[in-house]
């Protein structure tokens, strides 16, 4: 990289400002993602996680191919155990449980990813600003973060979801995003406050870059792995929270998701009538999705902390 020196128009002719005349090489988003995936793939646990996640995504996208029946059609004998026609049996309304579990991947995956992304967005914004602005701003934001950390999450989500009059998937996404950001914000804040005093940030500030540019273009790219880690942690929490809220009947009763299958199973006393597959299958699917997010996160953790890397 070649450097050219220019004299500022009104400055002391003796001082010179060093300006790079070609921007540093920054890999494009596609190459960056490819490299991150390759590094993740080298971690054994993350590899299992990525495989499970890919299979669930495939199931969600190709649900009409995998599911033998419509998930909402009520044309079977209700309360049947597993059979050749209905692999996981039928619900009390005569729906095919296997098809419901396949289609349920769509809503559960969507809520997990969207709520995880929403919570991460809040965490990054609050964490970066608090870490970069010590003093009053940091005090206020840190207090809000600590408050959100100690208030029990699920009871708060239940109260919020119960107050909102409309029952929809979007309500759950918003409620989860609004309540699950604090852990990520705390980690990002402490990282941002150590980066704030580094030379490259000082030079960016002295070269006249604005607050937004310094925070989002200089500091943020240096903690990609932390942001990814808080995304997967929030997504795991979101999948579990969605299942809990829907199991309580606070979800949209007309959508087919793993949580609503469990809700109807409980309403129809599936276990006491011996229909354990109706409870077992959707819960296992939720557990697998949550496990895949957590396993991927092991790989992300190892990226940022070399002491945790597998030899």
């Amino acid at each position: 990289m070649s450097l050219s020196t220019t004299t500022p128009p009104h400055g002391d002719p003796g001082t010179t400002v060093v300006v790079p005349d070609t921007p540093a090489h920054v890999p494009g988003p596609a190459r960056f993602l490819g490299r991150a995936l390759r590094t993740l793939w080298s971690n054994g646990k993350a590899r299992i996680g990525l495989t499970i996640l890919a299979l669930i995504i495939l199931m969600a996208v190709l649900a009409p191919v995998f599911a033998p029946h419509s998930p909402t059609a009520t044309n079977f004998t209700p309360y049947q155990g597993p059979s050749a026609a209905n692999w996981f049996g039928t619900t009390g309304n005569g729906q095919d449980v296997f098809s419901q579990v396949v289609y349920g991947a769509r809503v559960s995956l969507l809520v997990g990813l969207l709520a995880g992304a929403g919570a991460t967005l809040v965490a990054v914004t609050i964490g970066l600003i608090a870490g970069y602005r010590p003093g009053a701003v940091d005090e206020v934001l840190s207090f809000a973060t600590n408050l959100a950390l100690v208030i029990p999450g699920l009871p708060l989500m239940i109260i919020l979801a119960a107050y909102v009059p409309s029952r929809s998937v979007w309500t759950i996404v918003l409620v989860v995003a609004f309540t699950s950001w604090a852990t990520g914000a705390r980690v990002i804040r402490s990282q941002a406050s150590t980066l704030r005093t580094r030379d490259f940030v000082s030079s960016a500030v002295f070269s006249g870059e604005g607050l937004g540019r310094v925070v989002f273009r200089e500091i943020l790219p240096n903690m990609t792995s932390l942001v990814a880690a808080s995304f997967f942690a929030a997504a795991t929490a979101a999948v579990m929270a969605e299942a809990s809220l829907e199991f309580l009947g606070l979800g949209d009763p007309n959508t087919v998701s793993w949580g609503t299958i469990l809700y109807y199973a409980q309403q129809q006393n599936a276990l006491l009538t011996g229909q354990w597959v109706l409870v077992f299958a959707p819960g296992l699917a939720i557990a697998l999705l949550a496990v895949s997010f957590t396993l991927v996160n092991f790989g992300v953790d190892a990226l940022s902390n070399p002491r945790l890397r597998e030899k």
Partner: protein, 328 residues
């Protein structure tokens, strides 16, 4: 005792913020929770007295008064434990309903947390010490799976297999119907048998936080010079693992107590519902099913305040564990 003063001040401010959040939430919500609550009350065939209407308005937002006077009334009511009236339990006050349920949840969540802490920490020490081996992988992957089980789902499965199929445990409730709660040996053993499955469910699902926290701390501590020095001195490996490494790795794990408690409390809501265990979680489950806003609101406050108190107590005990904070 700078540390204690600072923690006490923080506790006070957090408590105030939590109580205020409870005041603000229903007023931010679309629609009118008051109208919904009053409609529900009338629907249940109850006579809506002026006092009841007043209590609900104070709790959930009144269209008549200014925000400030509502807030003052609300704080007064909370301080005197006037939570209004619930329509799930029309014959007693909300405070009385909660008073009956609180000990059950405190005992369940308390014992579960202690068991999960001890077992999880020991597993974490073991996994960190045997890092990179097959036994480490077994513990880590196992804990990952247990953490991914939705607590209420694990509860349902345990209920089905152990209580329904094998008849090893009672199916629901906190004690056999017909008994009255007292402190006799007969009643206590009956209650323990009823609490076993909910406690097991919560312990299994909350284990992983302790395992991972302790494993990571162990790995960091094992890299320290004094551990290498102890090894060079020829001390037995078990002595090094438990007395040198684990002892120092334990401290950061204790500070994670508050967060872990939140997970157990959250899990207990649905698990208590599944087992019809007579605690706060089951009340919240009932309140949500009945759209019982006054009860929900009071429960949220009681659960939050109990958690804040528990975290505060742990913060104070921490002084005994870590002498550095006394001087800081």
């Amino acid at each position: 005792m700078n540390y204690v003063l600072r923690k006490t001040a923080l506790f006070g401010v957090t408590l105030w913020a939590a109580v205020t959040l409870n005041f603000v939430l229903p007023r931010l919500m679309p629609g009118s929770p008051v109208d919904a609550a009053l409609a529900k009350l009338a629907q249940g065939g109850q006579q809506v007295t002026n006092a009841q209407r007043r209590a609900i308005e104070v709790q959930l937002g009144s269209p008549h008064d200014g925000l400030l006077s509502q807030y003052v009334q609300y704080l007064g009511n909370m301080a005197r434990l006037h939570f209004g009236s619930s329509y799930s339990f029309p014959n007693q006050t909300v405070a009385k309903t909660i008073e009956g349920a609180l000990p059950w949840t405190l005992v369940l969540v308390g014992t579960t947390t202690v068991i999960a802490f001890v077992v999880g920490t020991l597993l974490g020490v073991y996994a960190g010490w045997r890092r990179g081996t097959r036994s480490d992988a077994t513990v880590t992957v196992g804990a990952t799976f247990f953490a991914a089980f939705p607590p209420f789902w694990l509860g349902l499965l345990l209920l089905f297999v152990l209580a329904f199929k094998l008849n090893a445990f009672p199916i629901k409730g906190g004690y056999s119907p017909g008994l009255t709660p007292n402190l006799s040996v007969g009643f206590l053993s009956n209650a323990v048998a009823h609490s076993f499955l909910p406690a097991l469910t919560l312990a299994i699902t909350s284990l992983s936080g302790w395992v991972f926290g302790m494993r990571n701390n162990m790995i960091n501590t094992l890299g320290e010079d004094y551990v290498t020095f102890a090894e060079a001195n020829g001390l037995r490996t078990r002595t090094i693992a438990l007395l040198y490494a684990a002892r120092n790795a334990l401290l950061p794990n204790v500070t994670a107590f508050g967060l872990s408690l939140g997970a157990v409390v959250g899990g207990s809501v649905l698990v208590e519902g599944v087992f019809s265990y007579p605690g706060l979680g089951n009340l919240l489950y009932i309140a949500v099913s009945n759209h019982d806003f006054p009860l929900m609101q009071a429960l949220f406050l009681v659960i939050t305040v109990s958690m804040l108190v528990a975290i505060f107590v742990v913060d104070l005990l921490y002084v005994r564990l870590d002498p550095r904070v006394r001087r800081a």
